[in-house]
């Protein structure tokens, strides 16, 4: 039945029902009550509502299961299975009489996804899977994932739906007046991600009335060729005599919905505030006005959770620096799981103009799977750029694509069957745009025509999976001209042939062209310019290389891709920076640290390194400067931001010194006391703890940061494992300080001899004493002083 409805969508619209929650409130549902519990407590009322919608002409009834997930039922005596089963069956009973279908209705979990919240992606998939399994068993005809305000959570729900059923899946998101989700994602981002995941229809519901949805509609229609769903509220909620009422009546609602149907929306219904009357008025008008939407050219785009990057005429820069090849420091960072270093590489490239970041963390001796997923998660927490997932291991690729928030760029597939068999199913399941390298079973074709044929193989094989050309970017491979002087022209000719014959976008890793030559940037920049002139859509390159970016920004300005030359101007108009740098060189290391000047500190450290040992510089210059700054902070003559600026400057100096240090000296300069720090269980605010960590790092302590929301057991285990003489615990709220008490009690019970220092906004000396803490730090510097004194006493 549902399939029949969907097959006819080009000819006639289909109608969802309207609001459920607002009707239940009118029937006596009290604040705090679980609406889904009425499936068992008041089944007759739920059935009546479904029946009223069915007899109003609604063809898809939404089961009363919106919040029947384990997070929301935590205090309920009913299980997910009981409420979903009863909810779907009640809707089925009402639907049977009119021949309507039933959608298993799934709303958000109510928990925020990591990293902002604490909900892990796989846990979210599991939560939704429980609902889907119960809904399928109860006989749902399709699945409606609705009122989603985060594409990442929607992705978890879609995967749960697809992995546990064969039913059609529809998703509607809730946008604000500007077409934004609560996460900052846009209509275009949501459409790209959901279309990539292979859902059957997408749309908007709740939050807005039909008028605003009509205004936003052209953006949604432009962003997708899928059937579109519009389920608005009955206008905006208003407060009237202590009751929430909606400001649009059934006639006005129907009038706007008619316009929406006229604009090609084939699936229509209502949300909060709408009643069977609204639907009854709207349905005949919409049926009459419906005009199917014309398909438009598909879009090639990738996204993060909040930002979309289109591959159009203007070339896109894909930053290549998160890659260990030829970078000893990066390799070391990977081995040490030094994510801070990796994340900095990402932020620097973004600041320098990258629009997508390539992520390659493959090293033979490391666990690439773990590093890849962790790097992707952490990078997505601090950067809104879409990522290019770059690995040759299909298992690593699948895990990364799964947990990725958005629609990724996938690097890469070749024209070899083994590669296509491994990668295309992943693109089909998770969505993404894939870079297709023109490598066949016989290697890299030597002629432009050979590379075109390789590209054809990729495009043809992809189509067997239902993957369109918009999801493929061909890379005709840049080879070194030092090995073959025709290499660059073959690549450029291949690129032209591929663009002309295959209607796909093209990209190149441009740097390779100059391999083996002196002054490489001359050649690379020239080749890059030639490729852009011939229509290159994306380049994988180093955005920190100024010559390359100069070529790129100039090209964009000349081609009219840079409106009013604003990007060019903002990059090159400010010449004062150089003057600042020159002035910075004149500070001593102590002055630079005290003033919090990073580049000046680095320069001063460099100068000192030629005359003094590393140990000398640390003991006689850096530590005294930090002590001076710390004393001023405690006196109240210098403030926290300045204290931290000094810490950052000292860190720059350390980085310079480290480069010149031998391994044995490095060990000597490290204050070898280990400190385990954590924000306690239940507490998600870790800024205070992170500030303490920065300062402790400065003083050379070996700080093990367990993060936030850490259980007493994890803290105990880490202390036992590392034999740390000091533990630092942080808690922000009166409701989370009991976890601090619990942690200290466990450490004491297990006979661990470490000292415990505590801090946090609501703590007092009195409370710290009462829970058995050894030290209460009223601010970050206080904790550092305590750690230093403990370390000194242990050395004696």
């Amino acid at each position: 039945m549902i399939k029949t409805l969907l097959n006819k969508l080009k000819k006639e619209p289909v109608f969802f029902d309207g609001g459920m929650g607002t009707l239940l409130q009118k029937s006596g549902l009290a604040p705090g009550d679980i609406p889904e519990s009425w499936n068992i407590l008041h089944p007759e009322r739920i059935y009546q509502i479904h029946q009223a919608y069915a007899s109003s002409g609604c063809q898809i009834l939404k089961s009363n299961t919106f919040g029947a997930n384990r997070c929301k039922l935590i205090d309920s005596s009913y299980s997910v299975q009981e409420l979903v089963d009863a909810g779907v069956k009640l809707a089925k009973k009402a639907a049977a009489e009119s021949g309507a279908c039933v959608a298993l209705d799934i709303g958000p979990t109510g928990k925020l996804m990591k990293p902002l919240g604490n909900l892990d992606f796989e846990e979210a998939v599991q939560i939704f899977s429980e609902m889907v399994q119960s809904g399928v068993d109860a006989g749902a005809d399709c699945i409606l994932i609705e009122t989603m305000n985060d594409v990442y959570e929607a992705k978890a729900a879609v995967l749960a739906a697809k992995e546990n059923s064969d039913l059609p899946v529809f998703v509607t998101m809730t946008f604000d007046e500007s077409g934004k989700l609560l996460t900052g994602g846009t209509i275009e981002v949501a459409a790209a991600v959901l279309e990539g995941l292979g859902v059957d229809a997408i749309g908007m519901n709740c939050g807005l009335g039909p008028d605003t949805m009509l205004q936003l509609l052209p953006r949604l229609m432009q962003a997708t060729n899928l059937p579109v769903i519009i389920n608005p509220n009955a206008g905006l909620p208003k407060e009237k005599d202590g009751e929430t009422v909606f400001d649009i009546d059934a006639d006005s609602f129907a009038k706007t919905m008619k316009e929406i149907a006229k604009n090609g929306v084939s699936m229509l219904g209502g949300c909060c505030g709408t009643t069977p009357d609204y639907l009854k008025t709207m349905i005949p008008l919409c049926k009459k006005a419906f005009s199917p939407a014309a398909d438009h050219a598909p879009i090639t785009a990738v996204t993060s959770g909040s930002k979309i990057t289109y591959f159009e005429e203007r070339p896109i820069i894909i930053g290549e620096r998160i890659n260990p090849t030829g970078k000893p420091k990066f390799k070391q960072a990977l081995r040490e799981k030094n994510y801070e270093y990796i994340l900095r590489e990402g932020v620097t490239q973004q600041d320098n103009g990258a629009e997508i970041l390539d992520v390659n963390v493959g090293l033979p001796e490391i666990d690439e799977d773990e590093l890849m997923t962790e790097t992707v998660s952490r990078l997505q927490a601090i950067s809104d750029l879409p990522l290019q997932l770059d690995t040759s291991d299909p298992t690593v690729m699948e895990h990364a694509m799964r947990i990725y928030n958005g629609k990724p760029l996938v690097n890469s597939v070749t024209a070899k069957m083994s590669s296509m068999n491994a990668i295309f199913p992943l693109i089909k399941k998770y969505g993404g745009v894939v870079i297709g390298l023109t490598i066949t079973e016989d290697g890299i074709p030597e002629t432009p025509e050979g590379r075109l044929q390789a590209a054809e193989i990729i495009v043809k094989e992809a189509s067997k999976y239902g993957i369109g050309r918009e999801s493929i970017i061909i890379d005709p491979l840049t080879m070194a001209i030092s090995a073959d002087s025709n290499a660059a022209s073959i690549t450029l000719k291949a690129m032209q042939l591929i663009k002309e014959n295959l209607d796909v976008k093209v990209s190149l890793g441009v740097s390779n062209v100059s391999f083996g030559l002196p002054q490489r940037e001359n050649i690379t920049a020239s080749f890059f310019n030639a490729a852009m002139t011939l229509g290159l859509n994306a380049a994988i390159m180093n955005p920190n290389a100024e010559a390359m970016m100069r070529t790129y920004r100039s090209f964009c300005a000349i081609k009219g891709f840079d409106p009013n030359c604003m990007t060019y101007i903002s990059a090159y108009a400010d010449v004062k920076e150089e003057d600042k740098k020159r002035a910075a060189e004149e500070y001593t290391l102590e002055q630079a640290i005290e003033k919090g000047l990073k580049s000046a500190a680095a320069n001063a450290a460099k100068k000192l390194s030629s005359a003094f040992s590393s140990l000398d510089i640390i003991q006689n210059h850096i530590v005294p400067a930090l002590d001076t700054v710390g004393a001023k902070f405690q006196k109240g003559t210098l403030f926290l931001p300045q204290l931290l600026m000094s810490a950052e400057a000292a860190k720059e100096a350390f980085a310079v010194i480290k480069e010149n240090m031998k391994a044995d000296t490095a060990a000597e300069t490290k204050n070898n006391m280990t400190i385990v720090i954590a924000t306690v269980k239940g507490d998600v605010h870790d800024i205070g703890k992170n500030i303490v960590k920065v300062l402790l790092d400065n003083y050379g302590f070996n700080v093990i940061d367990l993060g936030r929301d850490v259980s007493p057991k994890t803290i105990l285990d880490t202390v036992l494992e590392t034999n740390a003489p000091l533990v630092g615990l942080s808690a922000l709220m009166t409701t989370t300080v009991p976890s601090m008490k619990e942690t200290i009690a466990l450490l004491r019970k297990e006979g661990v001899s470490c000292k415990v220092m505590v801090g946090g906004a609501v703590l007092t000396q009195e409370y710290a004493d009462s829970i058995g803490a050894d030290f209460y730090g009223k601010d970050a510097m206080d904790s550092v002083r305590y750690a230093v004194s403990l370390s000194d006493s242990l050395k004696k």
Partner: protein, 220 residues
């Protein structure tokens, strides 16, 4: 208190800040304004005062501070406001790129939250005006003896999760962090600001405290 003064107060600056700090404040203000997405919800709520506490829409709270706050009010509304999720994301990003900006961003975000929160009270002012009533300063969970656990009541009675995208954790923390919930009493006479006393505030380690704390029993 003006904007900059409030930020400096949050930063604990009692002396004139130098130019570098002022530049950081300027940058933080700009970044936060771009990242903020203020949203609010509110509704009128029935209440009654008893000898032992306050009943709000059928839920009972024994807080004596809440009872004295609502004394003299003829109406009350509950209100929730957030600056949105991107604020937390912005602050998180700076933990990796420039940690010295964190306290500045925190201070500026707190001030922005207060300022935007005040603007969001406009419809409530209008509602009060329609009933010839005056707004009292907001009173929220965590103030005095009104427990943080009362957050649950706000989440049950307002669509905070759905409309504001805010999660209440099991430990009664709200994510995103720049979110406030409060009850606002509406009374026929303007509120006397002198009723706000340091001695009633339970933030005992506040650097600006002028009077010692008196607990709920002694304040009655």
């Amino acid at each position: 208190m003006d904007h900059l003064e409030s930020i400096l107060r949050y930063l604990g600056c009692r002396e004139k800040p130098d130019n570098s700090l002022l530049e950081m404040i300027q940058k933080a203000d700009m970044l936060l304004t771009a990242a903020s997405s203020p949203k609010s919800v509110w509704k009128d709520i029935s209440f009654s005062l008893t000898d032992t506490g306050t009943s709000l829409n059928g839920s009972f709270f024994s807080s004596s501070a809440l009872r004295s706050y609502l004394k003299g009010c003829t109406k009350a509304v509950i209100f929730a406001f957030t600056l949105g999720r991107q604020i937390d994301q912005l602050i998180y990003k700076y933990q990796y790129t420039q940690v010295s900006m964190i306290p500045v961003l925190q201070a500026c975000a707190s001030v922005l939250c207060e300022e935007e929160g005040k603007k969001a009270l406009q419809p409530i002012c209008q509602y009060a005006g329609e009933h010839n009533l005056f707004l009292r300063p907001s009173f929220g969970p965590g103030y005095d003896d009104f427990p943080l656990q009362a957050q649950k009541f706000f989440f049950q009675n307002l669509p905070i999760e759905k409309k504001l995208g805010v999660e209440l954790t099991e430990t009664y923390m709200m994510i995103p962090s720049k979110t406030v919930t409060s009850i606002i009493g509406l009374s026929p006479t303007p509120y006397n600001l002198r009723n706000h006393k340091c001695s009633r505030c339970s933030f005992q380690t506040c650097p600006y405290r002028k009077e010692p704390y008196h607990d709920k029993n002694s304040s009655q």
